[in-house]
């Protein structure tokens, strides 16, 4: 009995961590599908979002919900401007230019955050900090549960947005066939900037959800490496795939930490990725028809 509870505990913790990986992966995928750019600064945008939330909630004393919402809006606006001012200029340039640019932006964001907020870890109080929920005998940390529930809610919202709203469908359209979207009079550039805004907002939400579990610091964005694995496992192009890939990585990582000697936990994401590339290189959820260009 003890063992079953322990295993469930690991699954919940792993799924929670995996949701964070998945949310960052989702940002990778949204931007990649639209613009064929891989944004290596995605994790650092999460870090910035976390610090903004910290400032609003811990420094300015805002209510958690108001501060969180405002932080998401601010980070999304930042993502919009990032595309409109910087990244739009490199569309059509060779891939490595884009890679170098987003890597460089990541460095700048970390330096900027260090100067603004310092290099110490910080945190803020959330309604989920140090609380537990008793789910039919299983004691689960409210912090981990809030991550899972928050991610699921966000997925529902995004699903409705992308499939049921005019703007959401237009985002899909512009991602699938940019030229045709121009012909339809869809404002493609603005739509791509909005996709950056959504990705940044989702990253900020990931940072906020993560904050009761782990502190906010300048280097927290490095977990994006695992998100990258999650996105590839999910098929790099599939939104549900990136989340499921994230959760898979998170759970496997927890079990590796429990069963295997120290050190293994850190490499499991890459081991899962390697296995995936060998067994099913197109990822779990590769779309059947190739992208038409």
């Amino acid at each position: 009995m003890e063992d079953a509870a322990r295993i469930l505990q690991l699954v919940v913790n792993g799924a929670a961590a995996g949701c964070i990986y998945g949310l960052i992966a989702l940002g990778f995928v949204l931007i990649y599908k639209a613009t064929e750019m891989v944004n290596f600064a995605q994790g650092d945008i999460m870090m910035l979002g976390g610090f903004v939330a910290f400032s609003l909630i811990a420094k300015f004393g805002m209510n958690y919900w108001v501060g969180a919402l405002l932080a998401i809006v601010i980070t999304a606006a930042f993502g919009y401007l990032l595309d409109a001012v910087v990244l739009r200029r490199v569309i059509g340039q060779p891939q490595f230019a884009v890679v170098m640019l987003t890597l460089g932006l990541g460095f700048i964001f970390r330096a900027g955050a260090g100067i603004t907020w310092g290099y110490d870890s910080v945190g803020f109080n959330t309604p989920f900090t140090n609380k537990t929920v008793n789910m039919g005998g299983l004691i689960v940390g409210a912090d981990n549960l809030s991550i899972i529930v928050g991610t699921l809610l966000l997925c529902v919202v995004l699903f409705i947005f992308f499939n049921k709203t005019r703007l959401g469908v237009a985002m899909q359209a512009a991602s699938q066939n940019q030229l045709a979207a121009y012909y339809m009079g869809i404002p493609v550039r603005r739509i791509f900037s909005l996709i950056w805004a959504i990705s940044a907002g989702v990253a900020c939400m990931a940072g906020i959800l993560l904050s009761p579990v782990s502190m906010i610091d300048v280097n927290m964005g490095s977990l994006a490496i695992k998100s990258f694995a999650a996105a590839v496992i999910g098929g790099f192009g599939s939104i549900p795939g990136s989340l499921i890939g994230g959760i898979l990585v998170g759970i496997v990582e927890q079990f590796a930490g429990y069963k295997l000697p120290a050190g293994f936990q850190e490499v499991t994401a890459n081991v899962v990725l390697l296995l995936m590339l060998i067994v099913r290189p197109q990822g779990l959820f590769a779309e059947r028809m190739g992208k038409r260009v």
């Binding site: 066939n177 030229l179 012909y183 260009v293």
Partner: protein
């Protein structure tokens, strides 16, 4: 000819250093079908892209209802009433047929008008109604062409730009689609600028025709007159079964950026 709906006035268009259009002028009157014939690479697609604003001409004017629309972005051109059915259909493969059609009406806000135009499209192409919830990428070539035409109709055009609608379709399907193009023209009073390599069907469908060769207009006349000309018969009607068609496709989607 002051009653032109569209007047293209000596445009020159480049792809980087390559000049694709070397001074072309043409007119489309309201309600007219005008065709532009030309071999592969003559510059037909480039003319249409210049009109719809995806490419900007280096020189020259594009007048639509008396207004210069050259150098206007495509979404504004489209809102003025010019809708483009691109070469190779260019549907949104992962969206359903219905969603594709709704994207054609993206710039419109009149939901009643949009609903009635959707009915109209389904009327012209009942196949699309049957398949409205399927992904566009799963349609056959002919159905995708029907979808591309309907998607443009959803923009409520006064001028429809059609880029090689016969490309890759069976002769029977070509006949069907062109007869519907004619119906759309007369019933909806939409003027059509039709670009084709299939001169036989284009000359039978259109009222007036231009012949394009490497970026220049080399002939312009009523379609009946053109059809009777010896050189046209030899070069455009004689070899209409040329196997080259459909080989070259629009590849690099951002090159015009």
């Amino acid at each position: 000819m002051s009653e032109s709906l569209l007047r293209v006035d000596s445009i020159e268009t480049f792809y980087g250093p390559i000049q694709a259009i070397r001074g072309i002028s043409l007119d489309v009157a309201p309600g007219q079908i005008v065709t532009v014939l030309g071999a592969n690479g003559a510059g037909k697609t480039t003319v249409l892209r210049t009109i719809s604003g995806v490419l900007d001409p280096e020189r020259g004017r594009v007048m639509f209802e008396g207004k210069d629309i050259a150098r206007m972005p495509p979404d504004q051109v489209m809102q003025l009433g010019i809708c483009h059915v691109p070469e190779g259909r260019e549907t949104f493969p992962f969206l359903t047929v219905r969603e594709n059609l709704m994207m054609g009406a993206y710039t419109r806000r009149d939901s009643a008008g949009i609903a009635s135009d959707l009915e109209l499209c389904f009327n012209y192409f009942p196949r699309l109604q049957e398949r409205q919830h399927q992904r566009a990428g799963l349609l056959s070539g002919g159905e995708q062409q029907m979808l591309a035409i309907s998607r443009a109709l959803m923009g409520k055009p006064r001028l429809l730009l059609l880029d090689e609608p016969s490309l890759g379709l069976s002769p029977l399907l070509v006949q069907q689609i062109f007869s519907i193009i004619r119906r759309i023209n007369t019933e909806q009073k939409v003027a059509i600028l039709l670009v084709e390599q299939n001169a036989a069907i284009a000359l039978r469908t259109a009222d007036f025709g231009y012949v394009l060769e490497v970026g220049r207009i080399v002939a312009a006349d009523d379609c009946k007159t053109l059809m009777a000309r010896d050189d046209i018969r030899e070069f455009y009607l004689g070899q209409k079964e040329a196997g080259e068609r459909g080989v070259r496709r629009w590849k690099k989607k951002r090159m015009w950026n």
